[in-house]
């Protein structure tokens, strides 16, 4: 019968509107809060919450209260706000050399504290221009000492371009929540999630110091 295909199609659309729409929609950044959500935030039973806060209960029933909601991310998420460990960094600038766009600027001071022992330089400048960064993660891959990691956040909008340049002070102060992108040792830790906890510099690396053989394998073709 002519037109049967149309009716069939409309049936599918109707099915999707009635049953599947809500399941497939992710609310971000806010969602409407129910009484149960509000009670959970207050650590209370929702019945006792309703008695103690009748106005809020009424508002939430009318859908006037919104709470912020997080989106699902995976541990390998390549986000902004790089996690950089000062203690691990030697100032070798492998990351700067390997960046396809050349947006990492490193200036080291040779008169630094550990220069005499030949261990690491003092890092004066470590600028990452995330306004131009494409988050390919090659700098993280190139880092031989596991000092630089991708971050896990993504809500770093700024009003000025210059604010998008992460400098060394900001890197030091930033939350150390490294993503597990190219860091298999973090994935082997059972319950590590970059969105919950910070991790200290001595627990984040594969090794204290890579051997000469490791470095040769990484950089020089046999």
């Amino acid at each position: 019968m002519y037109g049967l295909g149309l009716i069939k199609g409309l049936g599918i659309t109707l099915k999707n509107i009635l049953f599947l729409q809500r399941r497939n929609t992710t609310q971000y950044p806010d969602r409407k809060a129910s009484i149960i959500d509000l009670a959970k935030l207050d650590n209370k039973n929702f019945i006792s919450y309703a008695f103690t806060n009748p106005m809020k209960t009424l508002k939430s029933m009318m859908g006037m209260i919104v709470i912020s909601d997080k989106v699902d991310q995976h541990p390998r998420f390549r986000g902004e706000e790089f996690s950089w460990y000062e203690e691990r960094c030697t100032g070798c600038a492998s990351c700067a050399k390997f960046c396809p766009l050349g947006i990492i600027k490193i200036v080291t001071d040779q008169t630094g504290k550990n220069y005499a022992e030949g261990q690491n330089y003092d890092i004066e400048t470590f600028d990452i221009d995330i306004g131009r960064c494409m988050f390919c993660g090659l700098c993280v891959e190139a880092c031989p000492y596991d000092a630089l990691h991708m971050g896990s956040g993504f809500e770093e909008g700024q009003y000025k371009r210059n604010d998008l340049v992460i400098d060394v002070e900001r890197l030091k102060k930033a939350e150390k929540k490294p993503s597990t992108w190219f860091r298999p040792q973090l994935e082997q830790k059972d319950d590590y999630s970059p969105f919950d906890e910070e991790i200290a510099w001595d627990k984040v690396g594969r090794h204290q110091k890579p051997s000469k053989k490791d470095l040769k394998n990484k950089w020089i073709r046999k």
Partner: protein, 368 residues
């Protein structure tokens, strides 16, 4: 009484709701009939081939993400295969399987986009497109588990893939494989039997086998005109020779066939993924002898793979340095565009949009 009319030249695009990206068509019309048509492109030209000449071999992987940005995995695969051929790099078996799995997932995602936007161009605004996007979202989530990005993936490296897959990926992949056949059925029952779609697409923009072979078309465009040519069968790369799958071909070569081929190919891709999951074994995923900065020997290499849109090829010439001397990209969308005039000239202007949508071009690839 006869009406005197003269030819009118109009510009379709670059800013037009039915244009896929920034693309312009200079169309000469006689009333509603198309007399002449000339594609004008270059609005998205970024000089990828030139940029590749001053980057190292691994850094170019990030450039290839941005060519065909709805099928980054296939671009990565084509590029790293070319580097591997140039430098004689061996790929571990497990990496090959994972590459095939992600390339087929990407093919499904790309075909979903093509189908959705074809329907969007036909006037079915939103609904079918959103159904396609809903399924594509699941694939993008799978990619996020793998490599932390959804579109610009940079997943593959010369000599394998960058890191092994987490267990979460295999669990989610199984769920996806369970649900996807039903979703394709739903999509097909929404579109394939629909009388409006049929009347708009049947016998519109017919391409004969001779025409498509002469213009060196490839991919679903070629197979819709009943030419059985698939690089996965004709020149098996990676592990495609171990896998059993069909190459669907169309009957007449009209726009409806081009849509139907894509639906059938999605089913074949699911078959390939299922077989790969059964065959895959634990092992290394990256050739450890390959350093980050590769110094390729002097010479040249061309590798073409069957991308979602057709034969995607990279031709690399090396002078022995750390970056290629020349990098030529054979972009399937660009070559598939060449027959647009033959498809549409003599037809109505309404059919132009349908034909154009059925080619499935991505401007990042056309302009490079």
């Amino acid at each position: 009484m006869s009406l005197n009319s003269e030819l009118v030249t109009i510009n379709f695009g670059p800013q037009h709701p039915s244009m896929h990206g920034v693309f312009r068509l200079r169309v000469t019309l006689d009333g509603e009939t198309i007399v002449d048509l000339e594609p004008v492109f270059g609005y998205l030209h970024r000089g990828t081939e030139k940029l590749a000449e001053e980057r190292t071999y691994v850094q170019i992987v990030t450039l290839t993400d941005r060519l065909d940005y709805v099928a980054s995995m296939s671009n990565n695969l084509a590029y790293v295969s070319a580097v591997e051929k140039l430098c004689n790099i061996e790929v571990p078996k497990r990496a090959s399987y994972i590459r095939v799995i992600v390339a087929e997932l990407q093919r499904i995602a790309s075909h979903l986009m093509a189908t959705g936007f074809l329907l969007n161009d036909l006037g079915a605004f939103g609904t079918p497109l959103m159904y396609c996007f809903r399924e594509r979202e699941k694939i993008l989530d799978l990619f996020e588990i793998l490599c932390g990005a959804r579109i610009t993936l940079s997943y593959m490296r010369p000599g394998g893939i960058f890191q092994d897959t987490p267990q979460e990926f295999w669990d989610d992949l199984e769920l996806f494989l369970e649900s996807m056949p039903n979703q394709i059925d739903e999509l097909e029952s929404l579109i394939t039997g629909n009388e409006i779609v049929l009347s708009r697409t049947r016998d519109v923009g017919i391409l004969t086998p001779e025409q498509v072979i002469d213009a060196s078309l490839s991919g679903p465009m070629l197979r819709a005109s009943s030419v059985k040519w698939d690089l996965r069968k004709a020149n098996p790369y990676e592990i495609y020779d171990e896998i059993d799958f069909d190459v669907p071909i169309g009957a007449t070569g009209d726009t409806f066939d081009r849509y139907l081929i894509r639906i059938k190919e999605m089913r074949e891709s699911l078959k390939i993924i299922t077989q790969c999951i059964n065959l895959i074994k634990p092992g290394p995923v990256r050739n450890e002898d390959v350093p980050l900065i590769i110094r390729a020997p002097e010479g040249e290499a061309y590798v073409g793979i069957e991308g979602p849109k057709g034969e995607l090829g990279f031709y690399l010439v090396s002078d022995g340095g750390i970056s290629p001397y020349r990098c030529k990209i054979r972009a399937p969308s660009f070559i598939n565009l060449t027959l647009l005039k033959e498809m549409t000239a003599g037809g109505k202007i309404g059919d132009l949009i349908v034909n154009f949508g059925s080619i499935d071009i991505v401007l990042g690839e056309v302009d490079r």
